[in-house]
Symmetry: C2
């Protein structure tokens, strides 16, 4: 997922547990539909289609950076798979930036206690933005370590001018382990987003952030960083937790000079696509329920958790409905979004392209927080839906996914739809280890537990069919555009 | 630690818990000495000298590969520190091989489902041995994945000839988590040691082993691998757990071709040193109790757990005795061994150089399994010592280190002394996470818990002073030379 979505997410909110509010009978669905929803959930909990899709996207196609040949192949692959299921498939154009990683190398060339003639390695990876590279030969400068933005702001400009600023904000592992990994991420990722700009504002020549992640295995985590045309475009990278700590300790002893090479390039714009695949509704085919994940990934790993799993779960929703020979009242639209990671290009393009038919978008679902145990459903943005959806959620109790929670944390790609008033949803996922791998080389297929993936597929398929077949309207509450999306 | 030591180690054995056997009073020590041992333990549990030594060796000096400038600087540093304490310091010559890592790169160049024009990265690091490099341009060959040596042996030669063999033996994480990390390591490391030779025997062009480690963060773990002059010296590397799994999945689908570049070099022999620092005994100065760790490390991390911590704990033993203005009856000899990782050169050289005075070596202690919670003492190789040492071990109960255990697992560098009949000891350490970092880039100072390190220092300092002041002889039982040391 894109970190920006988190800033707007209020994870706390009204939580409605099973059985609290509503009896099993409901006018929202016929008893026949309720029976179908049970079948869908049970079938999804048995099926390995989503896992096979995740495996192909990651193992065979590999990393799917927006604009890359692999991303293009992934578009074709998902489109083909959806056609095989009998869905009506369109590729909808999205113009995306093509960012490619270059050389990345950090070396301490002088520091207290240094053994003459030796250097020490700093493990670094580039962050993505505009004007974010060093010259090919790199730059060399002294390092200033700060723990937070306030500490940087408190430094006189002379202490920062010409220096490489290192932000050593620690990912709060205790918070993450206590069930608040999203909050821990939100706290730490602010530095990846804003650190570069803050450092540039005070005259730094580069900014390095401690990797935003919950495990310490000398693993750098990439991501986007901020851009401001009014500020110098200084190089920005993420270093590992270990290297950030080393720099903090060494700079406390005396001057530390770092040679830094980061040569990412923006190769220009590339035509790419959202994959849009419709399983036509029987009664209201013009009304659309989107079920989605994003198809692009970062380049270091193979993007299994982020977000092949989300795409695969969306594909599974259609597969299960087809397998059971069901047809929803409304059109079930599987969408594989393009270029979420580098600016939610696919989600924005879709909302523009479909601006005239937004009122026909009945609901939108996205999965973009990995494939951990599914605990229920995030519901946005009208609390009355918690009560309405209860009979459907009760079906998910069997797999431990019965929670309904009011939350804005329903995926970045569907924010433009939410802004236009479309109700949005996502599975509530256990993310306690998600950020250990997120945006790193370790985001690979082995991190997906097939059974947990099926749990997510069951939630999404059941929810999607339920919403596509509900016998009532859902309340529409247009939301403000989040600041970062303006 | 060197993996070889583990093969000879029988971790099971007689375990004697506190209070089981012996009353507090004992003729082995005077009540004054018992009081001094209490002081030593308490002081070590308060002191940060060992941590500061570990920090300097790792942060300031850095990786200390045998024969490197950093290893030479570490020798000078430890010698200086011991002189500062007032010890009598000698540098004793050890001729060591100088092995340097070169380029290391793995790329899948063809595989099932490959997107035309794209490749996938395999994270690989070279293993150290003789004749272990690819040509500078690398080699390209198809991959054969086997789960174990038996599976390889069962393959017809035609299936292996000209191929790159991947050993996908899994580190048993459940076993490790259950308190048997050494056993899990022992099972897995056999492939790092023997895999190359087994693959060469069947005509393979290279051997890759799944990294021997307990965590999965795309982190390769280096180490030594076997050499046999009668077999072709094929290149050998360690790949990450993730990449081993990927190769297993892809080869199950069809042919997979890997381009492999591994260009380590053996630059020849270098003069290096064991640091030998004596704190003279008052009654029997000719009798020596060695307290030690190994000063060299692998090059990927900074060797904090393996084994700066062990050296630092040995240094702390002398420091605490000096700080308390004590003097043992026998000479306390701090030894920082050189070149343990690439063949126990320092330990072997010492035993040869001191062959004529082995009978004066009263006991030897080594710490080489990191800095996890200290639980007691491994005792080798006469069970009667368990009873004898009980009053001393009771003092360590306060820090949770009261266990006495018969075990051969007392460190590789002092095996040559044990072979000559010298009683050997090591702290029993919690190694449940040790192998997650072992021999990898993540073996860095942040993995050292200062309090746990102090626990180890308390055990080693108390044990060393106790043995150096015991009023009885220790039983000497010459042990066979382990096969791997012949």
């Amino acid at each position: 997922m894109n970190k920006k979505a988190l800033w707007t997410a209020a994870i706390a909110g009204a939580i409605l547990f099973a059985g609290e509010a509503v009896a099993q009978s409901s006018s929202a669905w016929t008893s026949e539909t309720i029976q179908q929803l049970r079948q869908i959930s049970e079938a999804a909990l048995q099926d390995d289609y989503a896992y096979r899709q995740t495996a192909h996207l990651t193992d065979n196609i590999g990393p799917r950076m927006a604009g890359s040949p692999q991303a293009a192949a992934a578009v074709e692959y998902v489109a083909d798979e959806m056609r095989k299921l009998g869905l009506d498939v369109r590729l909808e154009k999205v113009t995306v930036p093509r960012w490619v990683r270059g050389e990345e190398r950090g070396e301490l060339i002088s520091y207290p206690g240094q053994v003459p003639g030796t250097k020490q390695k700093i493990v670094v990876t580039a962050l993505a933005s505009l004007n974010c590279a060093t010259p090919p030969e790199g730059i060399t400068a002294d390092v200033v370590v700060v723990n937070n933005l306030e500490e940087l702001a408190g430094l006189p400009r002379g202490k920062v001018q010409g220096k490489i600023v290192v932000f050593n904000e620690r990912f709060d592992q205790k918070l993450a382990a206590s069930g608040f990994a999203l909050e821990a991420y939100g706290q730490a990722v602010a530095y990846r987003e804003n650190g570069r700009l803050a450092a540039a504002r005070q005259g730094a020549v580069a900014a390095l952030v401690r990797s935003v992640g919950g495990a310490e295995f000398r693993l750098p985590h990439t991501g986007e960083t901020g851009y401001d045309p009014k500020l110098p475009g200084i190089p920005a990278g993420a270093i590992t937790a270990e290297d950030a700590e080393l720099l903090a300790r060494l700079t406390a002893q005396g001057p530390v000079a770092l040679h830094l090479v980061l040569t990412p390039k923006l190769l220009g714009e590339v035509e790419s696509y959202n994959v849009v695949a419709d399983l036509k509704g029987s009664k209201h085919p013009e009304q659309v329920v989107i079920v989605s994940g994003h198809l692009d990934s970062w380049d270091l790993g193979t993007g299994a958790l982020d977000d092949a799993a989300g795409v695969a779960v969306a594909m599974e929703a259609a597969q299960i409905v087809k397998q059971l020979k069901l047809q929803p009242d409304r059109t079930l639209r599987v969408v594989a979004w393009m270029a979420e990671e580098i600016g939610v290009f696919g989600g924005r393009a879709y909302a523009k392209q479909h601006a005239q038919e937004i009122s026909n978008h009945f609901a939108a679902i996205e999965t973009d927080l990995g494939a951990g145990h599914a605990m229920g459903i995030n519901v946005c943005c009208d609390d009355s839906m918690l009560k309405l959806l209860r009979p459907m959620a009760d079906i998910l109790l069997a797999s431990g996914a019965g929670v309904l929670r009011a939350s804005e944390d329903t995926g970045a790609d569907i924010i433009p739809l939410r802004v236009a008033g479309v109700p949005t949803f996502s599975p509530i996922q256990d993310v306690s280890t998600y950020f250990d791998y997120h945006h790193s080389a370790a985001d690979t297929l082995d991190k997906i537990d097939p059974h947990r993936l099926r749990e997510n597929a069951a939630v999404v398929a059941t929810l999607a069919y339920a919403v596509a077949t509900i016998q009532t309207e859902l309340p529409r509450k247009p939301q403000p555009v989040p600041d970062w999306m303006k």
